[in-house]
Each structure stands twice: as C-alpha cells, then as structure tokens.
Symmetry: C2
Subunit: 371 residues, 2 copies
C-alpha cells in the first residue's frame, strides 16, 4: 500500500551513517540555515480580532456574511481591521473545520495533448470565477498514476474530481462506489456503474455519423479511417458512428481502408496509418482521422509522397485545433467547443454537489469545412 516517502522500506528513517539522530537535534539546527529576512507571517483571524477588539467568533461570522450577529458598527470596525492587516482566511483552517475545501482536481490523461491543455485552461478560468481553485494532475494514461492522484487529491479534501479522459483503475471504482463527486469529461468510464449524469462532452457517435454523412454529401464514396486506441470510449464512439452510418448507406467501409493505431502519439499514428493503407492497396478518396494530431501525421506522410490534400484526398480531423486556421488550412475538422467546457464543468460539478438533477452537459459540435 501507500506510505509517505519518509518511512519507505528502503529508508531507515532518520538513521544517518549508522547513527540515530533524534528529531530534536535536527529541529534545533534548522533555524541556523533559515535566511535572515524571513517573511512575516500573514495576519490570522486572531490578529484581526485583537486589532478590532472583538472575539474571533465575531470576525469569523462577519467574514462569512452572517449579518445578524453583530452590529453595523462592529462590522465596520472588523472590516477596517481586515483591510488594514490584509487579512485573508487561511483555507486550510477552513477546510479542516468544514471537512471540505474549495479545491477541484483535474486528472488529465495527457497534458502534452494540446486539446487536453486547452480544456484545462478553460476549466481554470471558469473554476476561478466560480471561486474554486484548480489542481492539475497528469495521469499519463496509467492506471496506477490515476490511482495515486485520486488518493492524493482526497487527502487534499478536494471537493470534486474532474476526469479529463479516464482509464479503468481500482481506486476509480472505489470512488464510484463511495459516491465521490466525479465528473467525466470527453471520455466516459467503461464501467456501466456510473450514471450518465456526470459527463461533459459531445455526442461522439453522432459526430462520427456526421462525418460519414458529410463525405457522402460531397460525393466521396471511397472512405477511409485512421483511429487511435479503441479503449477510449470517445474514440470507439466516433468510429462506431462513422462506420455505422457508412454501412447504412450501403457502401460500407473497406477493411483495407482502416488503420487502427495505438499509444498516445497520435502524430505517429497518422504517419504510420498512411504507410499502412498504401501497403494494403490504394488510398481512399476521403479519410477520417479520429483526432487532428492523427490528421497532421497523415498529412506529413502524404506530403512526403507528393500526394496533395485536398486535391487527391480529403481529410477530416477531430477537435479542430485553433491553430488549424493558420497552419492547416487543408484540414476539415469536427469542431468541439472546448473553450465552453470550463463553464460546463463548473455547472456539472455544482449539479452533482446539489444533486438537483442532471449534471450531464452534452455540447454541440460542428463540422468546419476548409478544404
């Protein structure tokens, strides 16, 4: 199980070069190497109370807007003291007493992915405006790292956990059972245990279907597909919607026009995908890539081969990176309103906390045509 670094198996605690060191020794040495001009401690509620000549209870009540427990005159005096001393309640004292903090943690599968980073950025702003603080964790798509971060954040008494992409993990299941405030963004969890109420994202299946319809409308009949790991329900939904709609229209999807990639490096997946499709035969007229990064990788390989986009092949990405307008004017893409995710996350979390009802936020997507 888990133990703090200080008492790990390997370390012998405070044993140094064979000699047991009493903690006291260390503490009495500590003040020595402290820098001289140490920052003066910020004012605490006690200081404010003393300064205003009231009890800390009164200060606390006034800070919390409880208006019917003190006279207006007292309130003025206290507020003056607060300003004079620059007092701000230390959140740890509050959280400890209240048993919960105003911190929300975000657990992202891969912050190197610009899309994840964009969602995190949007969440930061929305959370801050709603009065929350954001802690950001990168799970690197590893179940045990996800577990570690979840437990760490619980130790921080965070009020909600936002999962920006998820993998199944032991602790996640525990958290679900314990009814912790979990909000899934973009990727639903695998287990069917959780309600569909705790999701923020788009309807990926509909988006995949829309891509197929778009290709058909443009008269493109030989459709291909390069996608990332299917263990992500977001990806598999997109793929299902796309292939489903293609087979409904009768034409279906030639297996030789499909490449299934793996791993986090979508750029490489796209690059390898083109290589693979060519090996298996001719390229399709239209190619759906389950992310923009995959499309970039594919485009790179196509350029190297002298194949022109969109003259020779039409590409459709997913996510619509804001840079596309500037550096990928050849790329169509399914645009997901990521800048709006932040607000949706806040709304979703508040719905979960209040258990009013539906916290689910299904946002609209659009297809951006550039080619």
């Amino acid at each position: 199980m888990w133990f703090p670094p200080a008492c790990e198996e390997g370390s012998k605690g405070l044993v140094q070069s064979g000699v047991l060191i009493d903690k006291t020794t260390i503490m009495t040495k500590a003040p020595d190497h402290q820098n001289p001009a140490k920052s003066p401690k910020p004012a605490s509620i006690t200081a404010v109370a003393r300064h205003a000549g009231v009890s800390i209870a009164t200060v606390s009540r006034i800070m919390n807007g409880i208006v019917n427990k003190s006279s207006p005159a007292t309130q003025l005096r206290v507020k003056a003291a607060v300003e004079e001393l620059g007092y701000r309640p230390v959140t740890h004292g509050q959280s400890l007493r209240r048993g919960e903090s105003r911190v929300v943690s975000i657990h992202a599968v891969n912050l190197a992915n610009p899309t994840m980073a964009a969602i995190a950025a949007s969440a930061e702003t929305a959370l801050r405006e709603a009065g929350y603080t954001m802690v950001l964790c990168d799970t690197h798509d590893q179940p045990d790292l996800q577990d570690t971060t979840l437990l760490d954040m619980r130790a921080h008494l965070v009020r909600g956990y936002v999962l920006l992409g998820t993998i199944d993990s032991a602790q996640l299941a525990q958290f679900q059972n314990h009814r912790e405030a979990l909000l899934y963004v973009n990727r639903r969890p695998h287990g069917a245990t959780s309600t569909p109420d705790d999701f923020v994202g788009i309807d990926n299946k509909a988006a995949g279907a829309a891509v197929a319809t778009y290709f058909k409308q443009r008269g493109l009949h030989h459709c291909g597909l390069i996608h990332g790991a299917l263990h992500s329900p977001a990806t598999s939904d997109r793929v299902d919607g796309y292939t489903g709609t293609l087979s409904e229209t009768g034409q279906g999807l030639n297996p030789r026009h499909i490449f299934a990639g793996q791993g986090l490096n979508h750029l490489q997946i796209g690059y390898d995908g083109i290589t693979d499709l060519l090996q298996k035969g001719a390229l399709p007229d239209a190619l759906f890539c389950s992310s923009d990064l995959i499309a970039y990788g594919a485009h790179r390989k196509l350029s190297e081969l002298g194949i022109q986009v969109p003259r020779d092949i039409v590409l459709m990405g997913f996510d619509d990176n804001p840079l596309n307008d500037w550096i990928a004017p050849w790329l169509n893409s399914v645009s997901v309103p990521y800048p709006k995710f932040g607000q949706a996350i806040v709304t979703g979390l508040e719905a979960i906390w209040n258990r009013g009802d539906r916290g689910a936020q299904i946002l609209p997507f659009t297809i951006v045509e550039r080619a």
Copy 2:
C-alpha cells in the same frame, strides 16, 4: 480590499426575500438534500491509532519515519492498521500544524499559449515526482488577476510561487519584499530588486544574437523582424540580441523591416506584420519572428500572397513547437528545452528553500534548421 464572496457589498449576507435567515435554519435543513449513500469519511489518524491500540502521537511518528520512538513490533502493527484502513494523512491538518504545505502554485500569463501549457505539463510531472502538488492559475496577463492569484495561493499556504511570465503588480512587489519563494520562468521581473538567482529559462539575448549570426552565415543580408509586446523582458532580450548583433556586423536592421506587435494574439501579430512590412516596402530575405505563433501568422499571410517559404523568404521562429516537424516543416526555430523546465523548476525551488545558493537555471537552446 478583498472580502470573501459571502460578504460582498451587494449581497446582504443571509437575507433572502427580506427575511433574515438564521444560519441554524440552513444547517438543519442541509442533511435533507444530501444524497443518501454519502461517501464514508476516510480514516483519520485517530481511527488508525484506535485500530492499532496506540496513541495518535505514535502513529504520527511512525508515519514520519521517526524510528527510534517505537518498537519494531508496534511499527508493524501500526503499518498494518494503516493499510487496512487505507489511511492517508489529510494534508490540511499537516500544513496547518507545520505552517506550510507541499503545494506549489504556477501563475501563467496565458495558458492558451501551447508553450505555457507545455511548461505547465512538464512542471506537473516533475513536481509530482518530487512529492509536490501543483495548482495552476492563469493570470491572463492582467496585474490584478496576478495579485488575486498570488494572495489566494498564500491563503493556501503554498510553499512556492512559480511565475510563468510576469507582469509588474503591487502584490508581486510585496511578495518580493517579504522574501516569499518566487521563481521566475522565461520572463524576468522588471524590478531590479530581485536577485538573478530565481530564474529558470534560456539566455534570450544570446538566442537573438544566434539567430542574427545564423542568417549571416547563410548569406542572408536583408533581415527583418516581427516581435510581440516589448514589455516582456524575454521578448526585448531576444530583440536586443538580434538587432545588436546585426548592427555589429555593420549591416544593421532596416526600420522598414521591423513590425512591433501588441497583445496576446501572436498569430494575428504575424499576419498583420507581413501586411505592414509590405506596405512599408519590399520584404526582407530573412525574417525573425519572436515566437512560433507569430511565424505561423506570417506564413499564413505569405501563403495567401503566393510568396513561398523558404524559397522567397526564410523564416525563423522561437520556441520550436513540437508540432513543427509535422505541420510546419518550412519553419526554422530556436528550440527551447521546455520538457526539461519541470525538473529545473523543482531544482530551483529547492535551492530557494534551502538557500544553499544559486537557484538560477540557465538552460541551453539550439537552432533547428528545417527550411
């Protein structure tokens, strides 16, 4: 000054529709709308102590690796209890008692900028591995937001403040005076008050100079420049190094080949820059853009005009976005080792905390030639 939302001017505290509501009323109502299967509280140190039949002091000592205050048998018993109950110390209790937490805050000027996001991502990993938790704040390049976030984070008892780009602000000056643990990344602060020891980044002036040298070596004599807001010392250093070296070689920089942009939207700056340079006369042979995004914007405009890169004009960006290899193979760029910034930030912070000495980390840059 600052007051918590609950006691803002506008709000009348707990007055609702003209009726004063006693806090008690609310609290007694609260349990009603709590969801039935509320998560059971995680085990506290008291629970562990009871379970193991020892005092909480002993549990605490064992958790902290103080090995000479309890028998091996007791230690085993306690560790067993810890595992059985899944105990993890609540950080707020620890921070409150110790007067400091293991949280580090990052204040970024603009998280929408992929470079900032990349640094934040790298910092997250390095901090986590070193046992710290990262809180991320976006200051949107506004002094008052920077002030707000700094004060917020102090209320969180954070142990260090990492400024990912800075603007001058009142609180920042205060924090400097109070010798708080501030670490500047990429952009030094304006005020000369701070030591140069608290900086992580590259030598921007040398980098600007290197670009000039590179252009000269390639025999490009008509050099241009498009840069962002000069109030960022990082930008002005780059510009100084570039122009300085150009004038040393005697050729100098034609003022008609310079465009000075403003604001956060670097893409637009690049686009507008080309328009401006053309209005002022002919384009240079080589163009230094003070960020990759500016280069993207410039390239877009050039493409629209049918001007080819690098045949007609050589571009040099800055930062070397990892996507460049894939989507901007026409762009040379000054590569900054952002993935290494995370570790450098941790090293720098630890140097500040221990005041051993220099926390400054000047990392190497390289010029990546693609065109």
